[in-house]
Amino acid sequence: MNSFLNWITANQQIIYIVILMVFVGIEVIGRVPSVLHTPLMSGANAIHGVVIIGAIIVMGKAESDNYLALVLGFLAVILGTLNVVGGFVVTDRMLEMFKKKK
Protein backbone atom coordinates (compact mmCIF):
# COMPACT_ATOMS: atom_id res chain seq x y z
CA MET A 1 0.00 0.00 0.00
CA ASN A 2 2.70 2.37 1.06
CA SER A 3 4.81 1.66 -1.99
CA PHE A 4 1.79 2.26 -4.20
CA LEU A 5 1.26 5.70 -2.65
CA ASN A 6 4.94 6.45 -3.07
CA TRP A 7 4.66 5.42 -6.69
CA ILE A 8 1.82 7.87 -7.23
CA THR A 9 3.80 10.72 -5.74
CA ALA A 10 6.92 9.81 -7.69
CA ASN A 11 5.01 9.69 -10.97
CA GLN A 12 2.46 12.40 -10.39
CA GLN A 13 3.54 14.40 -13.44
CA ILE A 14 2.92 11.46 -15.72
CA ILE A 15 -0.37 10.63 -14.01
CA TYR A 16 -1.56 14.21 -14.47
CA ILE A 17 -0.61 14.14 -18.14
CA VAL A 18 -2.47 10.88 -18.69
CA ILE A 19 -5.66 12.09 -17.02
CA LEU A 20 -5.66 15.47 -18.75
CA MET A 21 -4.90 13.93 -22.14
CA VAL A 22 -7.78 11.49 -21.78
CA PHE A 23 -10.14 14.44 -21.35
CA VAL A 24 -8.53 16.47 -24.12
CA GLY A 25 -8.76 13.51 -26.50
CA ILE A 26 -12.43 13.04 -25.75
CA GLU A 27 -13.25 16.74 -26.02
CA VAL A 28 -11.42 17.18 -29.29
CA ILE A 29 -13.13 14.22 -30.95
CA GLY A 30 -16.57 14.98 -29.62
CA ARG A 31 -16.98 17.91 -32.01
CA VAL A 32 -15.94 16.16 -35.19
CA PRO A 33 -18.73 15.93 -37.79
CA SER A 34 -19.18 12.43 -39.17
CA VAL A 35 -18.08 13.54 -42.65
CA LEU A 36 -14.57 13.90 -41.30
CA HIS A 37 -14.43 10.59 -39.47
CA THR A 38 -12.21 8.77 -41.95
CA PRO A 39 -9.62 11.56 -42.24
CA LEU A 40 -9.75 11.93 -38.48
CA MET A 41 -9.10 8.26 -37.88
CA SER A 42 -6.26 8.44 -40.35
CA GLY A 43 -4.85 11.58 -38.71
CA ALA A 44 -5.00 10.01 -35.25
CA ASN A 45 -3.32 6.95 -36.76
CA ALA A 46 -0.45 9.14 -37.94
CA ILE A 47 -0.13 10.81 -34.55
CA HIS A 48 0.33 7.56 -32.65
CA GLY A 49 3.24 7.01 -34.99
CA VAL A 50 5.06 9.10 -32.39
CA VAL A 51 6.12 5.65 -31.17
CA ILE A 52 8.94 6.09 -33.71
CA ILE A 53 10.73 8.22 -31.11
CA GLY A 54 10.98 5.15 -28.91
CA ALA A 55 12.36 3.20 -31.86
CA ILE A 56 14.98 5.90 -32.53
CA ILE A 57 16.06 5.85 -28.89
CA VAL A 58 16.31 2.04 -28.91
CA MET A 59 18.30 2.13 -32.12
CA GLY A 60 20.56 4.94 -30.96
CA LYS A 61 21.37 3.23 -27.68
CA ALA A 62 22.14 -0.20 -29.09
CA GLU A 63 25.77 -1.28 -28.73
CA SER A 64 27.36 -2.13 -32.05
CA ASP A 65 27.85 -5.79 -31.06
CA ASN A 66 24.26 -6.28 -29.90
CA TYR A 67 22.83 -7.59 -33.14
CA LEU A 68 19.40 -8.39 -31.71
CA ALA A 69 18.91 -4.78 -30.63
CA LEU A 70 20.36 -3.45 -33.89
CA VAL A 71 18.18 -5.56 -36.14
CA LEU A 72 14.97 -5.18 -34.14
CA GLY A 73 15.61 -1.47 -33.60
CA PHE A 74 16.23 -0.96 -37.32
CA LEU A 75 13.01 -2.79 -38.12
CA ALA A 76 11.16 -0.72 -35.53
CA VAL A 77 12.46 2.52 -37.08
CA ILE A 78 11.27 1.42 -40.53
CA LEU A 79 7.83 0.39 -39.26
CA GLY A 80 7.43 3.54 -37.16
CA THR A 81 8.38 5.77 -40.11
CA LEU A 82 5.88 3.91 -42.28
CA ASN A 83 3.21 4.68 -39.71
CA VAL A 84 4.10 8.38 -39.44
CA VAL A 85 4.84 9.25 -43.05
CA GLY A 86 2.18 7.01 -44.57
CA GLY A 87 -0.39 8.22 -42.07
CA PHE A 88 0.17 11.92 -42.69
CA VAL A 89 0.39 11.57 -46.47
CA VAL A 90 -2.80 9.52 -46.68
CA THR A 91 -4.64 11.99 -44.47
CA ASP A 92 -3.41 14.89 -46.57
CA ARG A 93 -4.57 13.16 -49.73
CA MET A 94 -8.03 12.68 -48.30
CA LEU A 95 -8.29 16.26 -47.08
CA GLU A 96 -6.94 17.70 -50.30
CA MET A 97 -10.03 16.39 -52.02
CA PHE A 98 -12.30 17.94 -49.46
CA LYS A 99 -10.70 21.26 -50.13
CA LYS A 100 -11.00 21.21 -53.90
CA LYS A 101 -14.73 21.70 -53.95
CA LYS A 102 -14.67 24.76 -51.75
Binding site: I29, V35, G43, A44, G54, L79
Partner: protein, 497 residues
Protein backbone atom coordinates in the same frame (compact mmCIF):
# COMPACT_ATOMS: atom_id res chain seq x y z
CA UNK B 1 21.16 23.75 -23.21
CA UNK B 2 20.72 21.12 -25.89
CA UNK B 3 18.47 19.17 -23.64
CA UNK B 4 16.33 22.25 -23.01
CA UNK B 5 15.87 22.70 -26.73
CA UNK B 6 14.76 19.07 -26.97
CA UNK B 7 12.23 19.71 -24.21
CA UNK B 8 10.87 22.64 -26.20
CA UNK B 9 10.71 20.47 -29.34
CA UNK B 10 8.66 17.94 -27.41
CA UNK B 11 6.43 20.65 -26.00
CA UNK B 12 5.76 22.00 -29.47
CA UNK B 13 5.11 18.46 -30.67
CA UNK B 14 2.54 17.82 -27.95
CA UNK B 15 0.74 21.10 -28.60
CA UNK B 16 0.62 20.54 -32.35
CA UNK B 17 -0.92 17.09 -31.82
CA UNK B 18 -3.77 18.55 -29.79
CA UNK B 19 -4.14 21.50 -32.16
CA UNK B 20 -3.99 19.21 -35.19
CA UNK B 21 -6.71 16.92 -33.90
CA UNK B 22 -8.85 19.92 -33.06
CA UNK B 23 -8.41 21.47 -36.49
CA UNK B 24 -9.18 18.13 -38.09
CA UNK B 25 -12.64 18.48 -36.64
CA UNK B 26 -13.52 21.37 -38.94
CA UNK B 27 -13.64 20.92 -42.72
CA UNK B 28 -12.20 24.38 -43.29
CA UNK B 29 -9.09 23.83 -41.17
CA UNK B 30 -8.68 20.08 -41.40
CA UNK B 31 -5.88 20.03 -43.93
CA UNK B 32 -3.88 22.65 -42.10
CA UNK B 33 -4.43 20.72 -38.89
CA UNK B 34 -2.90 17.62 -40.41
CA UNK B 35 0.10 19.57 -41.68
CA UNK B 36 0.59 21.21 -38.29
CA UNK B 37 0.60 17.84 -36.57
CA UNK B 38 3.06 16.56 -39.18
CA UNK B 39 5.30 19.56 -38.55
CA UNK B 40 5.24 18.94 -34.80
CA UNK B 41 6.03 15.28 -35.40
CA UNK B 42 9.04 16.17 -37.56
CA UNK B 43 10.36 18.51 -34.87
CA UNK B 44 9.99 15.84 -32.21
CA UNK B 45 11.72 13.24 -34.41
CA UNK B 46 14.59 15.48 -35.52
CA UNK B 47 15.02 16.76 -31.97
CA UNK B 48 15.27 13.20 -30.70
CA UNK B 49 17.84 12.24 -33.29
CA UNK B 50 20.17 15.17 -32.73
CA UNK B 51 19.60 16.33 -29.17
CA UNK B 52 18.63 13.27 -27.14
CA UNK B 53 20.88 12.26 -24.26
CA UNK B 54 20.31 9.35 -21.93
CA UNK B 55 20.48 9.52 -18.14
CA UNK B 56 24.28 9.37 -18.24
CA UNK B 57 24.51 12.19 -20.78
CA UNK B 58 25.44 9.95 -23.70
CA UNK B 59 24.33 10.89 -27.18
CA UNK B 60 22.63 8.47 -29.50
CA UNK B 61 24.77 6.63 -32.01
CA UNK B 62 24.13 4.31 -34.98
CA UNK B 63 23.06 7.30 -37.08
CA UNK B 64 23.53 5.28 -40.26
CA UNK B 65 20.99 2.74 -39.12
CA UNK B 66 18.56 5.40 -37.95
CA UNK B 67 18.66 7.42 -41.17
CA UNK B 68 18.62 4.26 -43.25
CA UNK B 69 15.47 3.09 -41.48
CA UNK B 70 13.78 6.46 -41.83
CA UNK B 71 14.70 6.64 -45.51
CA UNK B 72 13.34 3.17 -46.26
CA UNK B 73 10.19 3.63 -44.19
CA UNK B 74 9.60 7.12 -45.52
CA UNK B 75 9.97 6.10 -49.17
CA UNK B 76 7.74 3.05 -48.89
CA UNK B 77 5.20 4.96 -46.79
CA UNK B 78 4.98 7.88 -49.21
CA UNK B 79 4.72 5.66 -52.27
CA UNK B 80 2.08 3.43 -50.69
CA UNK B 81 0.06 6.39 -49.47
CA UNK B 82 0.26 8.19 -52.82
CA UNK B 83 -0.58 5.16 -54.90
CA UNK B 84 -3.42 3.68 -52.90
CA UNK B 85 -6.84 4.00 -54.47
CA UNK B 86 -9.41 5.96 -52.56
CA UNK B 87 -11.53 2.82 -52.24
CA UNK B 88 -8.68 1.01 -50.52
CA UNK B 89 -8.21 3.75 -47.93
CA UNK B 90 -9.55 1.77 -44.96
CA UNK B 91 -7.13 -1.08 -45.66
CA UNK B 92 -4.27 1.38 -45.83
CA UNK B 93 -5.14 2.95 -42.48
CA UNK B 94 -5.37 -0.53 -40.97
CA UNK B 95 -1.97 -1.42 -42.44
CA UNK B 96 -0.24 1.71 -41.13
CA UNK B 97 -1.85 1.16 -37.76
CA UNK B 98 -0.44 -2.36 -37.67
CA UNK B 99 3.03 -1.00 -38.43
CA UNK B 100 2.79 1.29 -35.41
CA UNK B 101 1.71 -1.60 -33.22
CA UNK B 102 4.58 -3.76 -34.45
CA UNK B 103 7.00 -0.91 -33.77
CA UNK B 104 5.78 -0.68 -30.15
CA UNK B 105 6.07 -4.44 -29.70
CA UNK B 106 9.63 -4.50 -31.09
CA UNK B 107 10.66 -1.70 -28.75
CA UNK B 108 9.36 -3.80 -25.88
CA UNK B 109 11.36 -6.84 -27.03
CA UNK B 110 14.60 -4.87 -27.21
CA UNK B 111 13.97 -3.14 -23.89
CA UNK B 112 13.17 -6.44 -22.20
CA UNK B 113 16.45 -7.92 -23.37
CA UNK B 114 18.30 -4.86 -22.12
CA UNK B 115 16.55 -5.11 -18.77
CA UNK B 116 17.38 -8.80 -18.45
CA UNK B 117 20.99 -8.09 -19.37
CA UNK B 118 21.21 -5.34 -16.77
CA UNK B 119 19.71 -7.71 -14.23
CA UNK B 120 22.21 -10.46 -14.97
CA UNK B 121 25.02 -7.97 -14.44
CA UNK B 122 23.63 -6.95 -11.08
CA UNK B 123 23.14 -10.60 -10.21
CA UNK B 124 26.27 -10.74 -8.20
CA UNK B 125 26.05 -13.22 -5.34
CA UNK B 126 27.73 -10.90 -2.84
CA UNK B 127 25.60 -10.32 0.20
CA UNK B 128 26.68 -6.72 0.55
CA UNK B 129 24.87 -5.95 -2.72
CA UNK B 130 21.59 -7.16 -1.35
CA UNK B 131 20.16 -3.78 -0.41
CA UNK B 132 21.20 -2.12 -3.62
CA UNK B 133 19.81 -5.00 -5.67
CA UNK B 134 16.42 -5.03 -4.03
CA UNK B 135 16.07 -1.33 -4.72
CA UNK B 136 16.87 -2.05 -8.35
CA UNK B 137 14.20 -4.70 -8.34
CA UNK B 138 11.64 -2.23 -7.19
CA UNK B 139 12.48 0.15 -9.97
CA UNK B 140 12.66 -2.38 -12.73
CA UNK B 141 9.36 -3.94 -11.72
CA UNK B 142 7.40 -0.93 -12.93
CA UNK B 143 9.55 -0.82 -16.02
CA UNK B 144 8.92 -4.51 -16.68
CA UNK B 145 5.17 -4.05 -16.35
CA UNK B 146 5.21 -1.19 -18.85
CA UNK B 147 7.34 -3.23 -21.24
CA UNK B 148 4.92 -6.14 -20.99
CA UNK B 149 1.85 -3.96 -21.50
CA UNK B 150 3.46 -2.31 -24.51
CA UNK B 151 4.39 -5.72 -25.90
CA UNK B 152 0.93 -7.24 -25.48
CA UNK B 153 -1.06 -4.27 -26.75
CA UNK B 154 1.33 -3.60 -29.62
CA UNK B 155 1.25 -7.24 -30.73
CA UNK B 156 -2.53 -7.49 -30.55
CA UNK B 157 -2.80 -4.28 -32.53
CA UNK B 158 -0.33 -5.49 -35.15
CA UNK B 159 -1.82 -8.96 -35.63
CA UNK B 160 -5.38 -7.66 -35.50
CA UNK B 161 -4.70 -4.88 -38.00
CA UNK B 162 -3.11 -7.30 -40.42
CA UNK B 163 -6.17 -9.54 -40.25
CA UNK B 164 -8.47 -6.53 -40.67
CA UNK B 165 -6.36 -5.46 -43.66
CA UNK B 166 -6.65 -8.93 -45.18
CA UNK B 167 -10.39 -9.01 -44.59
CA UNK B 168 -10.95 -5.62 -46.16
CA UNK B 169 -9.04 -6.44 -49.32
CA UNK B 170 -10.73 -9.81 -49.48
CA UNK B 171 -7.76 -12.14 -49.01
CA UNK B 172 -8.98 -13.36 -45.62
CA UNK B 173 -12.49 -14.72 -45.21
CA UNK B 174 -14.55 -14.63 -42.06
CA UNK B 175 -13.72 -17.67 -40.04
CA UNK B 176 -15.13 -18.84 -36.76
CA UNK B 177 -15.54 -22.16 -35.02
CA UNK B 178 -17.40 -23.41 -32.01
CA UNK B 179 -15.94 -22.38 -28.70
CA UNK B 180 -13.82 -19.67 -30.26
CA UNK B 181 -14.84 -17.11 -27.68
CA UNK B 182 -13.81 -19.49 -24.94
CA UNK B 183 -10.47 -20.02 -26.66
CA UNK B 184 -10.02 -16.23 -26.93
CA UNK B 185 -10.75 -15.85 -23.24
CA UNK B 186 -8.29 -18.64 -22.51
CA UNK B 187 -5.57 -16.86 -24.49
CA UNK B 188 -6.31 -13.61 -22.72
CA UNK B 189 -6.12 -15.42 -19.41
CA UNK B 190 -2.80 -17.06 -20.37
CA UNK B 191 -1.37 -13.67 -21.36
CA UNK B 192 -2.42 -12.15 -18.03
CA UNK B 193 -1.03 -15.14 -16.14
CA UNK B 194 2.24 -14.80 -18.05
CA UNK B 195 2.51 -11.14 -17.05
CA UNK B 196 1.74 -11.86 -13.40
CA UNK B 197 4.15 -14.79 -13.37
CA UNK B 198 6.95 -12.72 -14.88
CA UNK B 199 6.42 -9.95 -12.36
CA UNK B 200 6.60 -12.40 -9.46
CA UNK B 201 9.50 -14.37 -10.88
CA UNK B 202 11.64 -11.29 -11.46
CA UNK B 203 11.27 -10.13 -7.88
CA UNK B 204 11.88 -13.66 -6.57
CA UNK B 205 15.06 -13.93 -8.57
CA UNK B 206 16.36 -10.96 -6.66
CA UNK B 207 15.48 -11.96 -3.17
CA UNK B 208 17.44 -15.17 -3.69
CA UNK B 209 20.72 -13.48 -4.43
CA UNK B 210 23.06 -16.09 -5.92
CA UNK B 211 22.14 -19.63 -6.84
CA UNK B 212 19.56 -20.51 -9.51
CA UNK B 213 19.51 -17.24 -11.38
CA UNK B 214 20.90 -18.27 -14.70
CA UNK B 215 18.26 -20.92 -15.27
CA UNK B 216 15.62 -18.58 -13.93
CA UNK B 217 16.66 -15.96 -16.48
CA UNK B 218 16.43 -18.38 -19.39
CA UNK B 219 13.05 -19.49 -18.12
CA UNK B 220 11.85 -15.91 -17.67
CA UNK B 221 12.94 -15.17 -21.22
CA UNK B 222 10.97 -18.04 -22.67
CA UNK B 223 7.89 -17.00 -20.71
CA UNK B 224 8.31 -13.50 -22.16
CA UNK B 225 8.42 -14.79 -25.72
CA UNK B 226 5.49 -17.05 -24.89
CA UNK B 227 3.47 -13.98 -23.89
CA UNK B 228 4.57 -12.31 -27.14
CA UNK B 229 3.39 -15.28 -29.21
CA UNK B 230 0.10 -15.57 -27.36
CA UNK B 231 -0.57 -11.86 -27.82
CA UNK B 232 -0.02 -12.20 -31.58
CA UNK B 233 -2.28 -15.25 -31.69
CA UNK B 234 -4.89 -13.47 -29.65
CA UNK B 235 -4.83 -10.54 -32.08
CA UNK B 236 -5.51 -12.93 -34.97
CA UNK B 237 -8.25 -14.87 -33.21
CA UNK B 238 -9.83 -11.71 -31.87
CA UNK B 239 -10.45 -10.18 -35.30
CA UNK B 240 -10.99 -13.45 -37.23
CA UNK B 241 -14.65 -14.09 -36.32
CA UNK B 242 -15.78 -10.46 -36.55
CA UNK B 243 -17.79 -9.80 -39.68
CA UNK B 244 -16.56 -7.46 -42.39
CA UNK B 245 -19.30 -4.94 -41.62
CA UNK B 246 -17.75 -4.39 -38.23
CA UNK B 247 -14.20 -3.84 -39.49
CA UNK B 248 -14.41 -0.02 -39.12
CA UNK B 249 -15.15 -0.45 -35.45
CA UNK B 250 -12.29 -2.92 -35.09
CA UNK B 251 -9.79 -0.68 -36.88
CA UNK B 252 -10.82 2.27 -34.76
CA UNK B 253 -10.39 0.17 -31.63
CA UNK B 254 -6.98 -1.13 -32.71
CA UNK B 255 -6.04 2.44 -33.55
CA UNK B 256 -6.62 3.44 -29.96
CA UNK B 257 -4.73 0.31 -28.82
CA UNK B 258 -1.67 1.42 -30.73
CA UNK B 259 -2.06 4.82 -29.08
CA UNK B 260 -1.84 3.19 -25.67
CA UNK B 261 1.14 1.09 -26.78
CA UNK B 262 2.91 4.28 -27.88
CA UNK B 263 2.11 5.86 -24.52
CA UNK B 264 3.82 2.87 -22.83
CA UNK B 265 6.99 3.94 -24.62
CA UNK B 266 6.41 7.38 -23.13
CA UNK B 267 6.36 5.88 -19.65
CA UNK B 268 9.43 3.82 -20.36
CA UNK B 269 11.60 6.72 -21.52
CA UNK B 270 9.80 9.35 -19.46
CA UNK B 271 9.13 10.97 -22.83
CA UNK B 272 6.29 13.45 -22.66
CA UNK B 273 5.58 13.77 -26.36
CA UNK B 274 5.11 10.01 -26.76
CA UNK B 275 2.92 10.04 -23.70
CA UNK B 276 0.69 12.91 -24.85
CA UNK B 277 0.44 11.67 -28.42
CA UNK B 278 -0.28 8.11 -27.37
CA UNK B 279 -2.85 8.86 -24.70
CA UNK B 280 -4.52 11.47 -26.91
CA UNK B 281 -5.04 8.92 -29.66
CA UNK B 282 -5.95 6.23 -27.15
CA UNK B 283 -8.73 8.36 -25.66
CA UNK B 284 -9.95 9.82 -28.94
CA UNK B 285 -9.87 6.44 -30.67
CA UNK B 286 -11.86 4.82 -27.89
CA UNK B 287 -14.53 7.51 -28.08
CA UNK B 288 -14.66 7.25 -31.86
CA UNK B 289 -15.09 3.48 -31.51
CA UNK B 290 -18.00 3.95 -29.13
CA UNK B 291 -19.59 6.57 -31.40
CA UNK B 292 -19.36 4.15 -34.30
CA UNK B 293 -20.98 1.37 -32.27
CA UNK B 294 -23.74 3.79 -31.33
CA UNK B 295 -24.35 4.59 -34.99
CA UNK B 296 -25.10 0.90 -35.42
CA UNK B 297 -27.03 0.76 -32.18
CA UNK B 298 -24.86 -1.97 -30.75
CA UNK B 299 -22.61 -2.22 -27.77
CA UNK B 300 -18.88 -2.57 -28.14
CA UNK B 301 -19.02 -5.91 -26.33
CA UNK B 302 -21.54 -7.15 -28.84
CA UNK B 303 -19.28 -6.21 -31.72
CA UNK B 304 -16.23 -7.83 -30.16
CA UNK B 305 -17.82 -11.17 -29.40
CA UNK B 306 -18.71 -11.12 -33.06
CA UNK B 307 -22.30 -12.24 -32.64
CA UNK B 308 -23.14 -10.48 -35.88
CA UNK B 309 -21.69 -13.13 -38.12
CA UNK B 310 -22.81 -16.19 -36.18
CA UNK B 311 -26.14 -15.16 -34.75
CA UNK B 312 -27.65 -14.01 -38.00
CA UNK B 313 -27.12 -17.32 -39.77
CA UNK B 314 -30.68 -18.38 -39.07
CA UNK B 315 -32.14 -15.11 -40.31
CA UNK B 316 -30.08 -15.31 -43.46
CA UNK B 317 -31.78 -18.54 -44.43
CA UNK B 318 -35.06 -16.72 -45.02
CA UNK B 319 -36.07 -16.78 -48.67
CA UNK B 320 -36.15 -13.45 -50.40
CA UNK B 321 -39.55 -12.44 -51.71
CA UNK B 322 -40.53 -11.71 -55.27
CA UNK B 323 -38.84 -8.70 -56.79
CA UNK B 324 -39.16 -6.95 -60.10
CA UNK B 325 -36.48 -5.65 -62.40
CA UNK B 326 -36.44 -2.41 -64.30
CA UNK B 327 -34.81 -1.85 -67.67
CA UNK B 328 -32.11 0.75 -68.10
CA UNK B 329 -34.22 2.91 -70.39
CA UNK B 330 -37.15 2.87 -67.96
CA UNK B 331 -34.87 3.82 -65.10
CA UNK B 332 -33.42 6.63 -67.22
CA UNK B 333 -36.88 8.00 -67.98
CA UNK B 334 -38.02 7.80 -64.38
CA UNK B 335 -34.98 9.70 -63.17
CA UNK B 336 -34.76 12.26 -65.94
CA UNK B 337 -38.35 13.37 -65.43
CA UNK B 338 -38.28 13.37 -61.65
CA UNK B 339 -38.20 16.57 -59.66
CA UNK B 340 -36.05 15.32 -56.87
CA UNK B 341 -33.64 12.39 -56.84
CA UNK B 342 -31.74 11.10 -53.80
CA UNK B 343 -28.72 8.91 -54.37
CA UNK B 344 -27.82 6.46 -51.58
CA UNK B 345 -24.24 5.29 -52.09
CA UNK B 346 -22.94 2.16 -50.37
CA UNK B 347 -20.08 -0.24 -50.47
CA UNK B 348 -21.03 -1.45 -53.95
CA UNK B 349 -20.23 2.00 -55.29
CA UNK B 350 -16.80 1.90 -53.68
CA UNK B 351 -15.98 -1.56 -55.02
CA UNK B 352 -17.02 -0.61 -58.54
CA UNK B 353 -15.00 2.64 -58.35
CA UNK B 354 -18.14 4.29 -59.61
CA UNK B 355 -17.84 7.62 -57.80
CA UNK B 356 -16.91 9.55 -60.97
CA UNK B 357 -19.70 7.97 -63.01
CA UNK B 358 -22.02 8.79 -60.15
CA UNK B 359 -20.97 12.42 -60.20
CA UNK B 360 -21.44 12.54 -63.98
CA UNK B 361 -24.97 11.22 -63.61
CA UNK B 362 -25.68 13.77 -60.92
CA UNK B 363 -24.37 16.62 -63.10
CA UNK B 364 -26.39 15.44 -66.07
CA UNK B 365 -29.58 15.28 -64.02
CA UNK B 366 -28.90 18.66 -62.42
CA UNK B 367 -28.44 20.19 -65.87
CA UNK B 368 -31.87 18.88 -66.75
CA UNK B 369 -33.31 20.69 -63.75
CA UNK B 370 -33.56 17.71 -61.41
CA UNK B 371 -32.76 18.36 -57.77
CA UNK B 372 -30.12 15.76 -56.92
CA UNK B 373 -28.83 15.04 -53.41
CA UNK B 374 -26.81 12.30 -51.77
CA UNK B 375 -28.03 10.62 -48.61
CA UNK B 376 -25.07 9.49 -46.56
CA UNK B 377 -25.53 6.92 -43.83
CA UNK B 378 -22.82 7.29 -41.18
CA UNK B 379 -21.65 3.70 -41.54
CA UNK B 380 -22.18 3.30 -45.28
CA UNK B 381 -19.14 1.76 -46.95
CA UNK B 382 -16.47 0.32 -44.79
CA UNK B 383 -15.59 3.20 -42.55
CA UNK B 384 -17.48 6.17 -41.17
CA UNK B 385 -17.15 8.95 -43.67
CA UNK B 386 -15.95 6.53 -46.35
CA UNK B 387 -18.64 7.72 -48.77
CA UNK B 388 -17.79 11.35 -48.14
CA UNK B 389 -14.17 10.73 -49.02
CA UNK B 390 -15.09 8.82 -52.15
CA UNK B 391 -17.55 11.40 -53.40
CA UNK B 392 -15.14 14.19 -52.53
CA UNK B 393 -12.61 12.49 -54.80
CA UNK B 394 -15.13 12.81 -57.63
CA UNK B 395 -15.61 16.54 -56.88
CA UNK B 396 -19.13 16.19 -55.55
CA UNK B 397 -20.05 19.43 -53.77
CA UNK B 398 -20.41 19.42 -50.01
CA UNK B 399 -23.87 21.00 -50.13
CA UNK B 400 -25.23 18.00 -51.95
CA UNK B 401 -24.25 15.54 -49.23
CA UNK B 402 -26.98 15.08 -46.66
CA UNK B 403 -26.45 13.32 -43.38
CA UNK B 404 -28.93 10.73 -42.23
CA UNK B 405 -31.26 12.95 -40.17
CA UNK B 406 -31.50 15.60 -42.91
CA UNK B 407 -32.00 12.98 -45.59
CA UNK B 408 -34.75 11.22 -43.66
CA UNK B 409 -36.69 14.48 -43.52
CA UNK B 410 -36.40 14.84 -47.28
CA UNK B 411 -37.36 11.33 -48.38
CA UNK B 412 -41.14 11.94 -48.23
CA UNK B 413 -40.78 14.68 -50.86
CA UNK B 414 -38.40 12.65 -53.03
CA UNK B 415 -39.53 11.17 -56.32
CA UNK B 416 -36.77 8.67 -56.95
CA UNK B 417 -34.24 7.09 -54.62
CA UNK B 418 -31.31 5.48 -56.40
CA UNK B 419 -29.56 3.01 -54.15
CA UNK B 420 -26.05 2.19 -55.36
CA UNK B 421 -24.70 -0.92 -53.69
CA UNK B 422 -26.04 -0.08 -50.24
CA UNK B 423 -27.98 -2.74 -48.40
CA UNK B 424 -27.99 -2.99 -44.62
CA UNK B 425 -28.21 0.78 -44.12
CA UNK B 426 -31.57 0.84 -45.93
CA UNK B 427 -32.96 -2.41 -44.54
CA UNK B 428 -36.38 -1.77 -42.96
CA UNK B 429 -35.89 -4.85 -40.78
CA UNK B 430 -33.84 -2.57 -38.50
CA UNK B 431 -37.15 -0.90 -37.63
CA UNK B 432 -39.74 -3.60 -37.98
CA UNK B 433 -38.19 -6.94 -37.06
CA UNK B 434 -37.00 -7.26 -33.45
CA UNK B 435 -35.48 -10.64 -34.31
CA UNK B 436 -33.15 -9.14 -36.89
CA UNK B 437 -29.51 -8.75 -35.84
CA UNK B 438 -29.53 -5.16 -37.03
CA UNK B 439 -32.76 -4.33 -35.19
CA UNK B 440 -32.51 -0.84 -33.71
CA UNK B 441 -29.80 0.42 -36.06
CA UNK B 442 -30.78 3.83 -37.45
CA UNK B 443 -31.40 3.54 -41.19
CA UNK B 444 -32.19 5.75 -44.14
CA UNK B 445 -35.98 5.69 -44.55
CA UNK B 446 -35.89 5.28 -48.31
CA UNK B 447 -39.33 3.62 -48.35
CA UNK B 448 -40.88 7.05 -47.72
CA UNK B 449 -39.94 8.09 -51.25
CA UNK B 450 -42.26 7.52 -54.22
CA UNK B 451 -40.01 5.20 -56.22
CA UNK B 452 -36.96 3.19 -55.29
CA UNK B 453 -34.40 1.91 -57.77
CA UNK B 454 -31.85 -0.48 -56.34
CA UNK B 455 -28.60 -1.22 -58.12
CA UNK B 456 -26.91 -4.39 -56.90
CA UNK B 457 -24.74 -7.01 -58.46
CA UNK B 458 -27.09 -9.84 -57.46
CA UNK B 459 -29.74 -10.75 -54.93
CA UNK B 460 -27.07 -11.87 -52.48
CA UNK B 461 -27.53 -10.44 -48.99
CA UNK B 462 -25.25 -7.64 -47.82
CA UNK B 463 -22.43 -7.63 -45.36
CA UNK B 464 -24.55 -8.42 -42.35
CA UNK B 465 -25.72 -11.56 -44.15
CA UNK B 466 -29.41 -10.79 -43.84
CA UNK B 467 -32.19 -10.48 -46.37
CA UNK B 468 -33.60 -7.08 -47.19
CA UNK B 469 -37.36 -7.03 -47.63
CA UNK B 470 -37.08 -3.57 -49.16
CA UNK B 471 -36.19 -5.28 -52.43
CA UNK B 472 -39.61 -6.92 -52.64
CA UNK B 473 -41.57 -3.75 -51.87
CA UNK B 474 -44.06 -2.66 -54.53
CA UNK B 475 -42.33 0.62 -55.22
CA UNK B 476 -38.90 -0.97 -55.48
CA UNK B 477 -37.36 -2.07 -58.76
CA UNK B 478 -34.03 -3.78 -59.14
CA UNK B 479 -31.35 -2.75 -61.62
CA UNK B 480 -28.75 -5.51 -61.55
CA UNK B 481 -25.15 -5.01 -62.59
CA UNK B 482 -21.82 -3.46 -61.67
CA UNK B 483 -22.47 0.05 -60.33
CA UNK B 484 -20.03 1.75 -62.70
CA UNK B 485 -21.31 0.06 -65.82
CA UNK B 486 -24.95 0.62 -64.87
CA UNK B 487 -24.30 4.31 -64.19
CA UNK B 488 -22.47 4.80 -67.49
CA UNK B 489 -25.30 3.10 -69.35
CA UNK B 490 -27.83 5.24 -67.50
CA UNK B 491 -25.96 8.36 -68.51
CA UNK B 492 -25.95 7.24 -72.16
CA UNK B 493 -29.69 6.54 -71.99
CA UNK B 494 -30.53 9.88 -70.40
CA UNK B 495 -28.47 11.74 -73.00
CA UNK B 496 -30.58 10.16 -75.72
CA UNK B 497 -33.85 11.32 -74.19
Amino acid sequence: MEFDILTICYLIGSVTFILGLKMLSNPATARRGNLIAAFGMSMAILGTIFLYRDDNGNRLHNYGWIFGGILIGGTIGTLAAKKVKMTAMPEMVSMFNGMGGACAALISVVEFNRLIKDLSFTLNPRLSDLRLVSLETYLSKGELLIILIGLVIGSISFAGSMIAWGKLNGTIKDYSFKGQHLLNLLFLFLILMGIVYLMIEISKGFILVGGVHITTLAWVKSIFYGVFAFALLYGVLFVMPIGGADMPVVISLLNSFTGVAAACGGFLYNNKVMLTGGILVGAAGTLLTILMCKAMNRSLGNVLIGSFGGGSAAAAKKQHGAYKEITLSDAAVVMAYAEKVMIVPGYGLAVAQAQHACHDLEKLLTDRGVDVKYAIHPVAGRMPGHMNVLLAEADVSYDQLEEMEQANEEFPSTDVVLILGANDVVNPAAKSDPASPIYGMPILDVDLAKTIIVNKRSMKPGYAGIENELFSFKKTSMLFGDAKKVLQDLIAEIKQL
